[in-house]
């Protein structure tokens, strides 16, 4: 098959950004609207020719605001659509994402986080965790947030994103960073090429009212009773997602006396630190949330009951740690180590932090910020 660039299962060495873009096309993406921003530029560059090959549409929009609203239109008429950006641009997209969340349309967007706030820098960072996991824009809503930690997952997650977005009629995103976007690793696309003509038809899309009642996609509900009902409907949907779609990875947790909670790039660094620690006889394990929303809250709660110490490692000033503290609910000592501003901690540094946490004596439920020495 000509348009299927890589055979299923064949290993290729490509960048994370390219793997995500190819994964999206493979999963049925036929519309991309976006605006250049480092470190995600390989995504629009790749899709500018790749979507052309498969008969899709690529538009370099006049702004991120316009781009996300193009997706609003594309998704409204049933097209699997995608946009990608980095922090600054995702902030601009929040307006549209809120509308799309209210209209209950499925879209895929990716944030390859860079250092912030403001223009920040272009280095890998995790400072947009709050923005992603709390909805991001105005109003009561959530989006599904997937956090890959390898180029392999960057390639495979778009399919999952589209399936979840379609299933629940919700915006869903990949939250990664400049490192995962820029690095190359072997990847093999593990899912079949999605035949878009076989995606089940959607009974809410706009394609002309021939032979049916007209359809309206609307996010304005002036009657407070109507809007409250709509909000409760969304609430029920979010509960259903939280009950069914939590994904996480546990490593070396069985005998662990300290659990590191980290996602994405930070989780990769943590694994190196954990392997080093274990060589020295320190029993450390890893919990890697893969869905940041819905958050693996029960897993954290159970680990907190069983394990005395939890160490949250983030490339931010302490965002993930708030969720961990909330769900550990006073049952474990909580340590936090963060490097903001685009700094990626190195494994030796994290190993040092593990040792400090092991030696520390605080009470269960207490919080300790292990600042950089």
């Amino acid at each position: 098959m000509g348009i299927e660039k890589y055979k299923k299962g064949t290993k290729v060495l490509i960048k994370g950004n390219e793997a995500m873009a190819e994964g999206a096309v493979r999963a049925g993406c036929r519309f991309f609207g976006g605006y250049p921003i480092t470190p995600q530029n390989e995504v629009p560059e790749y899709l500018s020719w790749r979507l052309f090959e498969v008969g899709g549409t690529f538009i370099q929009a006049e702004s991120e605001v316009a781009a996300i609203n193009m997706l609003y239109g594309a998704s409204a008429c049933g097209t699997r659509s995608m946009t990608s950006s980095s922090g600054c641009g995702i902030s601009l997209k929040q307006e549209g994402i809120s509308y799309i969340a209210s209209a209950e349309l499925p879209i895929f967007y990716a944030n390859m986080i860079r250092g912030g706030p403001g223009l920040g820098n272009i280095a890998p960072c995790q400072g947009d965790y709050f923005q992603a996991t709390r909805g991001g824009g105005h109003g009561d809503y959530r989006v599904i947030v997937l956090a890959p930690n390898s180029v392999q997952e960057m390639g495979n997650f778009p399919k999952l994103v589209y399936d979840l977005a379609d299933k629940y009629r919700i915006p869903a995103m990949i939250l990664a960073d400049g490192l995962l976007g820029q690095m190359m690793e072997p990847v093999s696309f593990d899912f079949d090429w999605v035949d878009i003509s076989k995606i089940p038809s959607k009974d809410y899309i706009l394609n002309g009212c021939k032979g049916r009642e007209r359809r309206v996609i609307n996010t304005l509900h002036m009657d407070v009773d109507v809007l409250e009902k709509h909000n409760w409907h969304l609430f029920e949907k979010y509960n259903k997602i939280a009950a069914n779609e939590i994904r996480f990875e546990e490593r070396y947790t069985d005998d662990a006396e300290l659990i590191i909670v980290a996602y994405g790039t930070a989780a990769r660094i943590a694994v190196d630190a954990i392997v080093k620690a274990r060589k020295e006889g320190i029993k450390v394990g890893l919990l890697r949330p893969i869905t940041l929303w819905p958050f693996p809250e029960d897993v954290v709660a159970k680990l907190a009951e069983r394990v005395g110490k939890i160490l949250v490692v983030e490339m931010s000033l302490g965002q993930l740690v708030e969720d961990v503290r909330m769900f550990a609910n006073g049952k474990s000592e909580i340590y936090f180590y963060g490097r903001p501003g685009g700094v990626v901690p190195n494994p030796e540094e994290v190993l040092g932090v593990i040792k400090r946490a092991m030696k520390s004596n605080i009470k269960a439920g207490e919080f300790c910020h292990l600042k950089k020495l």
Partner: protein, 252 residues
């Protein structure tokens, strides 16, 4: 002599729903809605049309037009229209936008949809004021015109100059058809309908971006009677915003 049988000579267009419009007496929106609906009926495209509602007084048009409709964020209708039309190019897509929506917050979307010559139609209703939010200054508010945010009149030294949308877009190579019309008089209404029909026909022919700017009365926002508002359109607005065709690539 009475008629022997009753004969229906005037009816609501099929493309309008039975929901009553919530516009003020003397507002131009209702006329423009009707003209669009008549054009859609005459072209037989109701079942193939998607309309895009803006933010502003016409925010509820998704209730009024009996075709597929989508309501969008303030100013973003051209971007949404782009997404729809590029994905399903056989649909007829129109955006309906006011002056704040199109020429202030949505200027970038308007200019870039026009310069890409996206194949949809924009109906731009210019009444020189923000009606829905209570009569504030619009990008098209005239010099010296009083609004609730220019209580001493628009002073161009302080508030800048009005945006002339057709003139601005006419400087671009992209747009196919740009015309400014008015609904202040019967002749203008008829001309407006011809312009709207031409714009839709251009889209059906795949010729690219078309925009019809309609100068429209807002008696409530301007604080005058409907009759005076129509006179204001003719005597004050029209001299500043001259009527006519600003671009027509079909006439070479």
């Amino acid at each position: 002599m009475p008629f022997k049988e009753t004969m229906k000579i005037f009816k609501k267009p099929d493309c309008l729903t039975k929901i009553p419009m919530r516009y003020c007496p003397g507002c131009g929106h209702g006329i423009v809605h009707r003209l669009i609906a008549e054009v859609i009926d005459e072209l037989g495209i109701r079942e193939n049309t998607v309309g895009i509602a803006p933010v502003g007084c016409s925010v509820f048009i998704d209730e009024y037009f009996d075709c597929d409709m989508i309501q969008t964020a303030h100013g973003r209708a051209p971007a949404v229209a782009t997404g729809i039309k590029r994905c399903l190019p056989n649909l007829v897509v129109f955006s309906y936008q006011g002056d704040g929506d199109l020429a202030a917050i949505g200027t970038a979307e308007t200019v870039h949809a026009a310069t890409r010559s996206e194949n949809f139609t924009t109906i731009f209703v210019n009444n020189a004021i923000y009606g829905m939010t209570g009569g504030q200054q619009a990008p098209t508010t005239l010099p010296t015109q009083k609004t609730t945010t220019t209580p001493y009149g628009r002073d161009t030294k302080i508030h800048g100059f009005p945006v002339k949308v057709c003139e601005m877009l006419a400087s671009l190579d992209g747009p196919t058809y740009l015309e400014r019309v008015t609904v202040s008089k019967v002749a203008g209404v008829l001309k407006t309908k011809r312009a709207i029909k031409k714009a839709f026909q251009l889209q059906l022919d795949g010729l690219g971006f078309s925009l019809v700017e309609v100068l429209s009365p807002c008696p409530t926002g301007w604080g005058i009677t409907p009759q005076k508002a129509c006179e204001y359109v003719d005597e004050v607005m029209t001299p500043y915003y001259p009527l006519g065709v600003f671009k027509d690539l079909t006439k070479k």
